[in-house]
């Protein structure tokens, strides 16, 4: 077996590593893997966490290492960076479609970063479409869901609760 040599080949391997909390998306599609390069017989992988306290990061690192080592890429060094801060804007349209098909509403709109603090009293205007029936008549139950990256919503049309990827 020929060991993969280009960054593109290494990325292809990492496409097989899924996020344990969103198993329909790979760590590459989510934007957690920022860069990967060959380093001698091994590789240097640069990652960034989705949330500061994301408890899945350790498992993700273990899985990245396992995937590469099993293809003969060894040793694997993983470097964590915090800037630029992870944003849901990095999730591609293809990945958003996968999320919706899986039953999680994709992040709505784009993350806006204001230069000054804006305290808004009104509820977020953005709409989420129900991933089950497609209705846009949905309401936010809670900003916080089963994992750091998701909110809870309920569909008024089909009455099903569902999760939505937070826009950040």
């Amino acid at each position: 077996m020929r060991a993969p040599s280009s960054s593109a080949e290494l990325l292809e391997i990492l496409e097989e590593v899924k996020d344990p909390e969103v198993p329909v998306l790979s760590v590459v599609e989510l934007g957690i893997v920022r860069d990967v390069e060959r380093d001698g017989a091994g590789a240097l992988v640069t990652v960034t966490p989705t949330y500061s306290g994301c408890p899945a990061m350790r498992e993700i690192e273990t899985e990245i290492r396992r995937a590469l080592v099993s293809r003969g890429v060894d040793p694997v060094e993983i470097r964590t960076v915090y800037a630029p801060a992870w944003t849901t804007d990095w999730i591609s349209d293809t990945a958003r479609a996968k999320l919706e098909a899986y039953g999680i509403a994709p992040p709505s709109g784009r993350a806006t970063v204001s230069a000054t603090a804006v305290i808004r009293l009104e509820r977020r205007a953005a709409r989420a479409r129900c991933p089950r029936c497609g209705s846009e008549n949905t309401t936010l139950t809670s900003e916080f869901g089963s994992t750091a990256c998701k909110s809870l919503r309920v569909c008024r049309a089909c009455a099903e609760p569902f999760e939505e990827f937070k826009t950040i």
Partner: protein, 251 residues
């Protein structure tokens, strides 16, 4: 590369978030409704995550080989630099929410200011934390308004929470020697500059909620200098017992 002088400043950033995160984690399994149980523990997770990043950087800056776990679990109360407001017991839901709003608005202003300091390590962590904190502010603000405008009992409890916590807010805006040092080296901001925007935004939230700022001039302080309330020691004894009883344990 962060200058060693920034160590106590980074410690205070981490301590505020670790201690408040621990207070919120106490709600796990005790939230008034399931969604709030989940929300408060989610916010706890964000805060403890932010504390981890500031502690990692603090440890590297200090250069004595202390890890984030060493800094969290192997220091005594007098070595903690958190503001007093975050160590107060969680109280009822109204107290937790009012305190959370007061701190989150402060934290958002602080993180947004830190996101543009010249120290790239600090700026990177702060930019990330600011994004998370926007959610915290929105959550707490909506609840403060809901409680303030809700029933007589929810209003009374929210006002009592504000009366109790307000005297601990002054400390957040007093510049300590380590604040000035960190500001000089480009790793920090002067907390005095956060005071005016904080009062404007918190004032607006409280007006909307129909709550009144207590008319007392007295402000309690001490946490930033290591003088804490009796509550911190009790919190630490619970938080640190596992790490101290089983040194080096992994789980």
């Amino acid at each position: 590369m962060t200058a060693p002088a920034a160590f106590p400043y980074l410690l205070a950033l981490g301590d505020d978030r670790l201690i408040l995160g621990h207070r919120l984690s106490e709600w796990c399994g005790h939230g008034p409704i399931l969604e709030e149980d989940i929300a408060l523990t989610n916010i706890a997770l964000d805060l403890i995550g932010q504390a981890t990043l500031f502690f990692k950087l603090a440890g590297a800056t200090e250069g004595k080989g202390r890890s984030e776990d060493d800094l969290a679990f192997l220091r005594d109360d007098v070595e903690f630099r958190n503001a007093l407001i975050v160590e107060l017991p969680r109280g009822d839901f109204a107290f937790t929410i009012v305190r959370q709003m007061l701190f989150s608005v402060y934290s958002l202003l602080q993180m947004e200011a830190l996101a543009s300091v010249s120290d790239a390590d600090v700026a990177g962590i702060a930019a990330k934390a600011a994004k998370e904190t926007r959610y915290h502010v929105r959550h707490a603000t909506q609840w403060v308004v809901t409680l303030g405008e809700g029933t007589d009992e929810s209003h009374r409890r929210a006002q009592a929470a504000l009366d109790e916590s307000w005297r601990y807010t002054g400390e957040l805006f007093i510049a300590t020697a380590s604040d000035s040092e960190a500001e000089k080296t480009g790793a920090g901001v002067n907390p005095e500059t956060l005071s005016a925007p904080w009062h404007a935004q918190v004032g607006e939230i409280l007006r909307t909620a129909g709550l009144e700022i207590p008319q007392t001039g007295y402000m309690q302080r001490g946490g930033r200098e290591g003088r804490h309330t009796e509550h911190l020691g009790h919190l630490l004894s619970e938080m640190q017992i596992l790490a101290r009883s089983h040194p080096g344990a992994e789980w």
